[in-house]
Amino acid sequence: MKRTTIMIAGGVLLGVAAALVGVSLVEGQGTPRRPVTDHGPPGRWLPPGAHPNPAGGPAIQMDTGLGPLPPSTGAGYSSLTDVKPGGAWPALPRSLKGPVQPVFYRHDIHAGQYRIPCLYCHNNAANSYSINLPSESTCMGCHIVTSAPDTAGNPNPDIAKLRDYYARGVSIPWVRINRLPDYVHFPHMRHVAAGLACQTCHGNIQQMPRVFAVRNVASMGWCTSCHMERGVTRDCTACHF
């Protein structure tokens, strides 16, 4: 009886320790973080006005000595000449992949049917590491006029939401789809400048009513396989630093 007790006690001790190790392993897992991640900081951090620093004066025009940025060479899709608005909307499939967004923005209409180039809204992709979501003022550039009203003349409910956000000066909390770990620094501008189509990594966004991650772009194998195919550097510090 005593033996059993001792054995059980020992076993329990060992089990607790093992559990602690297990929890610690999971707990300890982590990736290096960079707290400034999302480019629109939350809360009041969001500069509400046009000026990034309303409290101060103008920024310095830094002379980088590198000359101006050339117009994007993004495979012709920065041109607005192809835009063809109007027409009947594509039908929604029965089920939609991807997370529910605060405003049901349909890429399949804007990018697909109307053929608005990606860089029209996501213009930073051509000149920055980070890609931007269009500001609400960009949306309102059209939607101050167009509202896809129903037969009764009421604007489309999602456009109404957008107008409401804009009127209140509140940023739309889009749910993030693709997210690279903080220790990866992906230069969007290099890839746009190289003429790579956005769809290469992001999938056929122009066919997605609601955006979802088509493939795990955060998998390094995806990056390196393409780099190898094209003979681009595989130096680790191209992305990791």
């Binding site: 999971v26 050339p70 000066g169």
Partner: protein, 990 residues
């Protein structure tokens, strides 16, 4: 991520672990409501402003990302600083993002500090001011730090509106002796501009012009221009001071006269110049008066009084006069005793007889120091407050309760004021005494216009929206108070400091000024004549309080903490003292002879007792002291102010008598004798110093000018390869290289290299703080610093060289950072390729691949790899150091490392890649100088050159060809990418 969450859910279901708080993370992307033309997420923006961390006023560019200030860099076009920033200036960010900042207005009540609204606070002040103004003139006191320009005028006008002239522009270091000496010698109570860059011989009487004195960044910049070695030419620098600090480390010769006799020595040198017939004096009454006055300072008498040999005096005099031009400066510890004004006068005379006045010593119509209030003014105010003559005291941007000696009675006097208002960024000692504490903005959030030099208008502008909504610039609040009280102050309708600053300019002109940082005109120098007043002074060695057999106490300004205002900034606390190399703690420097006599070792806690008080701190046995002195840095010993400052270390001002002043009324920091006693206790110093000697290893090398001319490198036989070894190794390396350089390595690549000119480096450690800011280095705190776990990728090693029993020794300082070795010993030992060599010659460290074997750190002979012992970047970790909002400062281009990961310098690879990507997208080639690592960018002495060594025309390629170049630990065949150019000592031509 997915797997991890799933696992946790399973684990939780199995009752294994506590999975609470592990809800799936959901990230949101928040777009701008309105697009900005300027701001591109991911691309930095820069705002020009002016540094306000000390009164020098260097020009700044503040780097912002996504509308947050993330780095302070220098404005290269600004006449103060020339694009360089010191450690304190860069740490302004930590003041901005200090979690201890006051976030809303508070009022002192019986139940402690209670939050109030701004409106309430403004109404209370306005009411009190109304009563005070009605009851008589000068019932209101306004205390600020040094102010010039628009805001200064506004403050005066504001005070006048309430019938008062009690204005104090209080600075702990107000340099009154210099101003008084200027009045006595040249009839102008002003501080001249010192042209270090032009001087060929610099004689400093205690002035710590590379640390805190007047304008340290600008002077370091100029000093390096004068004192660096180039083609056989360099200025000689002699330091005359009882304590050899960082500035003295750059000296080619150190003379330590008896404390207090520096002025006599200056007079002796001046007299010797005259005696030897080297005086450059125009004929006339002034010259005759100078000659006549100096005649009584014979070599023998001066030698007797100062303890400096007559031959040395004559030699220095000869050299000083022969240099064309030379420069003598007085300040610091040599100018902080009861004979301080005399010392400054003596040095003025020395400059006068050597013909330097008007050349390297230039007086202007005004100087920013003219109106700064000193100790005498502060005591006047204390007297007035103590007598109940002040009803309302408003204190902004200065902390007199800490920087005045306790014996001056500031706290008791302030208590007699009816309403005490502090405009404070932190709850410092002064704010704690006040009835109303109003949250002020930091210099990076405020508007001001300064005049740091005659003719220079330098603007201060907010670089971002205020971090805390509840804060308001003091001037805004004062405007509101005036409006509430029904007074009109400043330009009509002005309600903000911005309008005060903008007054008199058009919006376009203002934009232009703000983009350039200001208007930088060169004011002409003003001729001065010798005034007769100086001869009235006694020129006697100063008196010291305390028993005659005591040790003279030297309280000196801390380079990092200045007058204590830096004490709550982690970067500055963790920055090891430039001379003693202790961080986070206070220490008492004890002369080795004294230490031997009393049996004191490093770390022994000693009691220092003066007639005015007593403190306890650890001892540091320091050879850089005159015998019979002890030294303590000012800056620690706060009783309030914030988490990093409070209760840390000791304040040497507690040992000073309030009445110890000199003719100018300045407080004499070096005025008392103390006794030392061991307590028998010991503490482990938080020092970075392992061994203070380099033991013949040739890490920091130096030669004389003559040697440098011959192309000699100081031999370090143990650390250098023989020629036959070199040949053999080169052949082996070449054959290995042939088999190594395949794939991307075989393509034409740049090779990033660096040279560090030790004849320029002063050891100021601005580079260290730049690295902290750029690379998200963790601040580990005192406990971890004690255990040598600092994360500073760049460290300044300070070795004593020579026999340190006398004064004839020199200090070797070398910045040590990753050498980016071609044959890096750290690389092949990593099992997972986390450490490897990039095609462009960098020794890369891939943080996310690192598993933490630490083998690389063992195998690094330079010991420049730093391990994340804790999760410094994770909230909840015991050593988490980026507490909100400090994390706002983090550079988004650099990964924040987790625990268990090795990290190190990579020549700011993020800047390299950014520039390469930018150039590629723009379709242009990178030029030499397009990429600058943070350390090189900020180095005031421009000692660091970075570039592509494969480009034969790059500056770094040319610089590494210098005959003075050497590699540290060359015999290990690591082939470092950093070439050090050895220091050159301008030895005396005895």
């Amino acid at each position: 991520m997915m797997e991890r969450r799933r696992f946790l859910q399973v684990a939780g279901a199995a009752g294994l672990g506590v999975a609470a708080g592990c809800a799936p993370e959901r990230h949101h992307l928040r777009p701008y409501v309105n697009e900005s033309d300027d701001l591109i997420p991911g691309i930095p923006e820069y705002y020009a402003t002016t540094c306000r961390e000390c009164p020098a006023g260097c020009g700044l560019y503040v780097k912002t990302r996504e509308a947050r200030a993330i780095k302070v860099e220098g404005n290269p076009f600004h006449p103060v600083g020339h694009g360089k920033v010191c450690a304190r200036g860069q740490a302004a960010l930590q003041g901005l993002y200090d979690p201890d900042r006051v976030r809303e207005p508070y009022r002192r009540t019986a139940r402690g500090m209670q939050p109030v609204t701004w409106d309430d606070a403004v109404a209370r002040i306005a009411a009190a001011l109304g009563t005070a103004a009605a009851s008589g003139p000068d019932r209101v006191a306004l205390v600020t730090g040094a102010e010039t320009g628009a805001l200064d005028a506004f403050y005066d006008g504001w005070l006048a509106a309430f019938r008062s002239h009690r204005r104090l522009r209080y600075e702990a270091y107000a340099y009154e002796p210099l101003r008084e000496a200027g009045r006595l010698t040249f009839g102008t109570a002003s501080i001249p501009e010192y042209a270090f860059a032009e001087a060929r011989y610099i004689l400093s009487f205690g002035a710590d012009f590379l640390e805190t004195w007047l304008s340290p960044v600008e002077y370091a910049h100029q000093f390096a221009q004068a004192h660096h070695y180039e083609s056989g030419r360099m200025a000689r620098f002699v330091a005359v001071e009882p304590r050899r600090g960082l500035t003295g480390y750059s000296a080619d010769e150190w003379i330590a006269p008896r404390p207090g006799t520096e002025g006599l020595l200056a007079l002796g040198i001046a007299a010797s110049v005259v005696r030897q017939g080297h005086a450059r004096l125009a004929a006339g009454a002034d010259a005759d008066r100078a000659r006549g006055f100096l005649a009584r300072f014979t070599g023998a008498s001066v030698a007797r009084a100062t303890g400096v040999e007559e031959a040395v005096i004559d030699r220095v005099a000869r050299e000083f006069a022969a240099a064309e031009p030379s420069l003598a400066v007085a300040g610091g510890v040599a100018c902080q005793h009861r004979a301080a004004t005399q010392t400054a006068v003596a040095v003025n005379l020395l400059n006068y007889v050597a013909g330097n006045v008007g050349r390297t010593v230039r007086y202007h119509a005004t100087s920013p120091w003219d109106r700064v209030s000193g100790y005498r003014d502060a005591r006047d105010l204390i007297g007035a407050m103590g007598r109940g003559e002040v009803d309302v005291a408003l204190i902004q941007g200065t902390n007199p309760a800490f920087t005045l000696p306790a014996s001056a009675g500031f706290a008791a006097a302030l208590a007699k004021v009816r309403l005490k208002v502090a405009f404070a960024t932190q709850l410092d000692e002064t704010a704690e005494l006040c009835d109303l504490v109003l949250p002020d903005v930091t210099p990076l959030e405020q508007w001001a216009e300064l005049e740091p030099l005659a003719g220079v208008r330098s603007y201060v502008q907010p670089t971002m929206t205020p971090v805390f909504e509840g804060t308001r610039q003091a001037a805004d609040a004062l405007l509101a108070v005036a409006a509430k009280a029904g007074k009109q102050v400043g330009p009509a309708g002005a309600t903000t400091a911005r309008e005060l600053v903008a007054a008199g300019t058009t919006p376009d002109a203002l934009d232009d000024l703000l983009q350039h940082g200001g208007q930088f005109a060169v004011a002409p120098a003003r001729p001065v004549r010798l005034a007769p007043d100086f001869a009235r002074l006694a020129f006697q060695p100063p008196a010291f309080d305390g028993a005659d057999d005591g040790l003279v106490l030297i309280a000196y300004p801390s380079m990092a903490l200045f007058d204590g205002r830096g004490a709550n900034k982690g970067w500055l606390q963790e920055l090891p003292d430039a001379a003693v190399k202790i961080a986070w703690q206070s220490w008492v420097e004890v002369h080795p002879a004294t230490a031997a006599r009393l049996g004191i070792k490093n770390g022994d806690i000693v009691t220092v007792t003066s007639p005015h008080g007593s403190v306890e701190a650890q001892a540091y046995v320091y050879p850089g002291l005159a015998p019979g002195t002890v030294a303590i840095a000012i800056g620690q010993g706060h009783t309030a102010y914030g988490r990093n400052a409070k209760g840390r270390g000791i304040n040497p001002l507690d040992l000073l008598g309030a009445d110890a002043t000199d003719e100018s009324g300045a407080l004499a920091f070096c005025s008392t004798r103390v006794t030392l006693a061991r307590t028998g206790r010991w503490m482990e110093p938080a020092t970075t110093e392992g061994s203070p000697r380099q033991l013949g290893r040739g890490i920091a090398r130096a030669v004389t000018v003559a040697g440098a001319l011959k192309g000699e490198v100081e031999p370090a036989p143990e650390a250098t390869l023989t020629p036959s070894e070199q040949t053999a190794i080169a052949a082996a390396a070449a054959s290995q290289r042939k088999r190594a350089y395949i794939g991307i390595y075989a393509q034409p690549n740049p090779k990033w290299e660096m040279t560090i000119d030790l004849s320029r480096c002063t050891g100021c450690q601005a580079c260290v703080t730049a690295c902290y800011a750029e690379n998200n280095l963790a601040v580990v705190g005192e406990e971890q610093s004690v255990r040598h776990r600092n994360m500073s990728w760049m460290r300044l090693e300070r070795y004593f060289h020579g026999d340190t029993t006398g004064t004839d020794w020199d200090v070797r300082i070398t910045p040590m950072l990753c050498q980016q070795c071609d044959n890096a010993p750290c690389e092949p030992v990593c099992p997972v390729y986390a450490s490897y060599h990039t095609p462009d010659g960098l020794n890369a460290q891939i943080y996310n691949r690192c598993v933490g074997t630490r083998y690389c750190a063992n195998n690094c002979p330079y010991k420049v790899r730093y391990f994340n012992w804790w999760d410094y970047g994770r909230p909840g970790d015991p050593y988490f150091c980026f507490e909100e909002p400090l994390n706002w400062q983090l550079n988004p281009d650099v990964t924040v490392r987790t625990k268990g990961v090795m990290e190190k310098c990579t020549f700011c690879v993020q800047r390299i890649r950014f520039a390469q990507n930018d150039a590629k997208v723009r379709g242009v080639a990178l030029k030499d100088g397009d990429i600058t690592p943070a350390c090189a960018q900020t180095c005031p002495a421009e000692a660091i050159i970075f570039g592509d060594a494969h480009d034969p025309d790059s500056r770094v390629s040319r610089s590494k060809q210098d005959a003075r170049g050497y590699h540290v630990l060359d015999m290990l065949n690591t082939k470092p990418g950093i070439t050090y150019l050895e220091r050159v000592i301008a030895a005396t031509e005895a």
